[in-house]
Subunit: 687 residues, 2 copies
């Protein structure tokens, strides 16, 4: 007798007959199907992401053959507990079920679903129907007594005793009078006891345990500021130090940022060093690119001497922290020809038949100042471990945020391993993926563990583009693993929109970044000073880029956006709605140059509506059609739109309302919606 299913190739499928049973022992019949458990990323291969304090809402399709009552529980386990917790799932429509569990600590949670048909509950339901129809229920009472007695056998201690006495109670009441039997069966204590000791012998459990990576709140809500410390010197032409950088901290903190990201701080190579504006010719004074890492002064665990000492670095980190600025470092795993690895671990690079090391190239372009690490080396284990050691080294210096340079040029397998290794020890470490590459590659990196990711935001300018892209990021399963971090500029990206837009363009892109994204960042002071000179037409490189030279910035310039930035960052902190992305909702309007969107807190206590004029040249106006239900607004009541940018207040009513924005004054409204407007009914004598 072969009761096993025909061999199937899929992983994880359990045979129908448990291996611990003899082949003639009864197979364990399951009655309930559990499918389509959501969220689930790639069949459970990857974890979803949450931050501490959030809920994980889980839905599943659950159904059984026949008409028996189905019970389902959501099971979950926190990182610190061995025990699984259970939460009863609620049946919605169309065989869909739902429950949610809270995540209160950083680390890796697991969840899955268990369900069974409950004979007692089915009996209980049918008993009432039969009694109401005036049918004889004497035999049913005996069936119920049996079911309760069996439950007593599964229970122990006081519960077992109570159940046995309930079994008797039911039988006696039922014998006395059917109505009394039905009343006994409906006693809440009995029902509770029967649920606690349910017969789960036919229970099904979803075949996969799904994971949640729970991070601290900054993973979801953060404002980044990128700065080149070497440009912080007191005068132009003098290489700035960490000490110099300290004096800039109040300026950055006053703008309201909370992450201070430094490009690589390691010794910079000399061989084939690039000159100003990425020139192949390099003068003696040229400082080189911070991403060209490694010299005789050290590699990835060393500090560029011109910036200062490790002690200086730690002092800067500590000063920044006192001002609410957490420091983020760059993980740029590549080497110059002068990097100590080249001598000590030539086997980590690709060696050519003439004994030379392969430099980076994208034929016909050559990058002779960079040797890429060769992950196909036979010494791949050593290489993995060394890069982990480097990461841990900076963690030991107090760093908990890494911006990872070009992760898409190193194997996925490496990142999946590294991030899991680090986060199992330090669940508070955050990794930002700087992968400006194809969409599926970016998503894969996010799936395998990156906490946040750079996006295509910089190149999404029109209403259609922004609506499509941000709907994909915030309203599809992508949001379970991909946390966008929006940058209007970076040292590599001065977009054409900014190049030709002057100050209004920077204001537009800033408001979009800071309100479309709970996490965003700017590369400053270039950004707030509206630096828009490109290397040449058609290029997105900055002219006189800080990547290759020192720059002196006049942060006191009157055209600076620092006040706007400070105001918007304050708005972000004061309005819960702007601290997450999932509620993002676009609202229709009749002008292609006006973008209208909202964010809300789950309970609508915080409701923000943003209107942006995407046209950096002309005043635009139009009629908005707000989706009032998405804002928790009553179509019959007026409401107040309080523009938090200029403190003006508008009284609106219903969906259809007028807006007008002059980009040369302020290209955006950031409205806080106040649902309660005072009326005559607020006077005492109306009460």
């Amino acid at each position: 007798m072969n009761l096993e299913l025909a061999k199937k190739p899929m992983a994880g499928k359990k045979p129908m007959v448990s291996k611990t049973q003899e082949s003639r022992a009864p197979l364990r019949l399951t009655r309930v199907v559990i499918e389509n458990v959501r969220p689930e990323v790639d069949c459970g291969q990857f974890a979803i992401k949450r931050v501490v304090g959030e809920q994980v809402e889980v839905t599943a399709d659950i159904h059984a053959d026949g008409h028996d009552v189905v019970f389902a529980v959501l099971r979950y386990r926190s990182p610190s507990q061995a025990e699984w917790q259970e939460i009863k799932m609620e049946s919605l429509v169309n065989d869909s079920w739902k429950a949610a569990f809270p995540v209160s600590e950083q680390g890796r949670y697991l969840y899955t679903v268990t369900a069974w048909t409950d004979r007692f509950a089915s009996w209980h339901r049918d008993l009432g129907k039969k009694f109401s129809a005036g049918q004889d229920i004497a035999l049913d009472i005996l069936v119920g007594k049996d079911l309760i007695t069996q439950a007593a056998g599964r229970a122990s201690g006081p519960d077992a005793k109570r159940l046995l006495s309930w079994a008797e109670e039911l039988a006696m009441s039922g014998e006395k009078e059917p109505r009394l039997g039905v009343e006994a069966a409906e006693n809440p204590e009995l029902i509770q006891l029967m649920q606690s000791h349910a017969d789960r012998s036919n229970a099904s459990t979803y075949p996969r345990e799904l994971a949640v990576t729970v991070d601290r709140e900054k993973a979801r809500f953060s404002a980044w500021y990128e700065i080149f410390p070497r440009s912080c010197g007191p005068n132009g032409g003098v290489h700035g130090t960490f000490r110099d950088c300290e004096s800039k901290l109040p300026y950055i903190a006053e703008m309201g940022f909370d992450v201070l990201y430094l490009p690589p701080i390691h010794p910079i190579g000399v061989t084939n060093r690039k000159g100003k504006n990425n020139s192949e010719v390099c003068s003696k004074d040229d400082v080189g690119s911070p991403w060209a890492i490694g010299s005789h002064e050290g590699g990835h665990d060393a500090i560029h001497p011109q910036l200062g000492t490790l002690a200086d670095f730690k002092r800067l980190r500590s000063k920044a922290e006192q001002l609410g600025l957490e420091m983020a470092l760059d993980l740029a795993f590549q080497c110059t020809p002068d990097h100590p690895y080249v001598k000590e671990h030539k086997n980590w690079f690709r060696v050519l038949p003439d004994g030379s090391v392969q430099y980076a190239e994208n034929p016909p372009k050559k990058y002779q100042d960079i040797y890429p690490l060769d992950f196909e080396t036979q010494s791949v284990n050593e290489l993995f471990e060394e890069l982990k050691r480097v990461t841990l080294y900076w963690i030991e210096q107090g760093i908990r945020i890494f911006r990872v340079d070009n992760p898409h040029t190193k194997p996925y397998q490496f990142w999946e391993w590294l991030i899991a290794e680090i986060k199992s020890q330090y669940p508070d470490v955050l990794f930002l993926s700087e992968a400006f590459t194809r969409p599926k590659v970016m998503y894969r990196l996010a799936k395998l563990g990156f906490t946040q990711s750079y996006t295509y935001f910089a190149w999404r300018n029109t209403k259609y583009e922004l609506t499509e892209y941000f709907t994909e990021l915030t309203r599809t399963p992508v949001r379970e693993y991909f946390r966008p971090n929006l940058w209007p500029n970076t040292p590599d990206i001065l977009t054409e929109f900014l190049q030709f837009g002057e100050r209004p363009a920077f204001m537009i892109r800033f408001v979009l970044a800071a309100t479309l994204g709970a996490s965003y960042g700017i590369y400053g002071p270039a950004f707030e000073l509206c630096e828009n000179r490109a290397l040449r037409a058609g290029s997105e490189e900055y002219l006189d880029s800080e990547k290759y030279q020192l720059r002196q910035w006049n942060t006191a310039d009157a055209r600076s956006l620092k006040d706007l930035i400070a105001r918007v960052n304050r708005i972000r902190k004061e309005n819960l709605a702007l601290q997450s992305d999932w509620s993002l909702q676009f609202h229709p309007n009749d002008n292609e140059q006006l973008l209208v969107y909202s964010k809300t807190s789950p309970d609508f206590s915080s409701v923000i509506v943003v209107v942006v004029n995407l046209d950096r040249y002309y005043t635009q106006s139009g009629w908005v059609d707000l989706r009032l239900d998405a804002l928790g607004l009553d179509p019959a009541q007026p409401y107040q739109m309080h523009d938090l940018l200029d403190d003006s207040r508008y009284l609106w009513h219903g969906a259809h309302n007028y807006v007008k924005l002059d980009p040369h004054t302020m290209p955006a409204h950031i409205f806080r919606v106040r649902r309660r407007v005072r009326t005559e009914r607020d006077f005492d004598y109306f009460l």
Copy 2:
């Protein structure tokens, strides 16, 4: 040194370090990610479905870190071969890849995807770029020589020799002149050899092997006719036999059906037998319901004596087959109180505290003539095996199609096991699921193995309903596992549309069933004779239903639809487009009562456009907007619409065309589209 990923809960995930390797041996680095392989049902838990002669088109998202050239192959294995075959996949846009494999035999195929980065192909691509840019390629030629020499090491025999000589050839040519080196590298033989002996050491294979159930063609394309043999007697009131039934076969075959489905043919219970019109009172003459199976004369493997003997049954089967009618039997796994199982296997039923057997009920309704099998019995193994034995018994009598009664009232696990068991021995057996229940339950039964499924077609009447439902069935992943079989009526279902519509209603529903569905069926002769009397208002039961009594049908009645049915079945056979469902496309028009849709063969050699007037009372007309691209039509050329129902021909041009249908004449057009219309250019002197 721990290079394993942090423990993950998901099934089937391979550790990064193979267990056969020492922990210090190099880990096997994979470079390529393979994700989103489609089709795939529930993470590979279930097989997709195809019929012999079709293709399985497989897509996947495939990408690697960096810029190396990626190669991918679709791997598949047929039921009769141990060896895996490989087909090179083609890269489309956005990291999507595609390939297809043919399925030529019944049974279970497997498929998966393997991909790797190819150093030789990358080298080859870069060599050309560098040479074109006038760069020195001497060192590159040496790298290429090494790669070819390594490939020779992986090859053997003549290939190894050829590769070694190519390595020399490349080096010598390159030394002579770079251009000659590049030419050598581009030699097709070398490229072919290098592909055959590619270095797959970093290859990734998709973690799941996915399955295809390949059936014979009837699984996709079939026309069913359901008839009660006991009504085939020569006179009213006399119980018909299999012999009587033989005389009806030519009538059924002439209408063009190919499956003859008989309700259960087993002995009918006497205890609590239902009388005419489902009456609780049963007279001595009442014949009972064929679905009330089992009496002292036998159970599921016996034949109702009033129908004849096993020999009669086999003779009927054989006669039917000669006329192109394959016989389908009913698997209705339930018993009357008189079934032999009740005495011999009381433990297969639920026994109540008073020793009686639990009858079927849906409180407060009681079905005392039916004892459901209790799959939660301790003897579940025996029960499974017995039901398999019954199924095999009828297979041995030559039956290869089963219509399964109410599968949703027996455990999913049972059906998954039974169907797998049967099909592993008899891959030509087809199972039709009669589950009129909730959508996810119906889909699950299809996933777990049912070949075809009844649908909600009977209750989809309006343009919106039909468009939505058939788009879901034919244009979403549902189609990979759910094969619809459309029934406008069954002995249980006389829809309100038919009750109140007279003959035009039956014509409308017939044309819809036979053209929306490659598989469909009718319960006759009730259907073709337009029987529309319901038991009572609001009920879908037939008055004087054949489920409970004999009926005499006058199949010669002039109002019969038999000629229309014969014509439509002939059209189905002559037009490939109507023999499958996946090409179904709805076309807009301006009248809510007109439904316009098309089906095409993959190469557009067969193109059918159907127009149905959904209004059974009034003539409707309107303007159609054909989607010409879906029909392979040139918007600049006229085309002929040949109505295969009345042989009329219309000359159309472009998308916008007029139609008008009187339901009392003919409520539908079934157009064959002829793209080529003769013009003056067909005369000799134009050539």
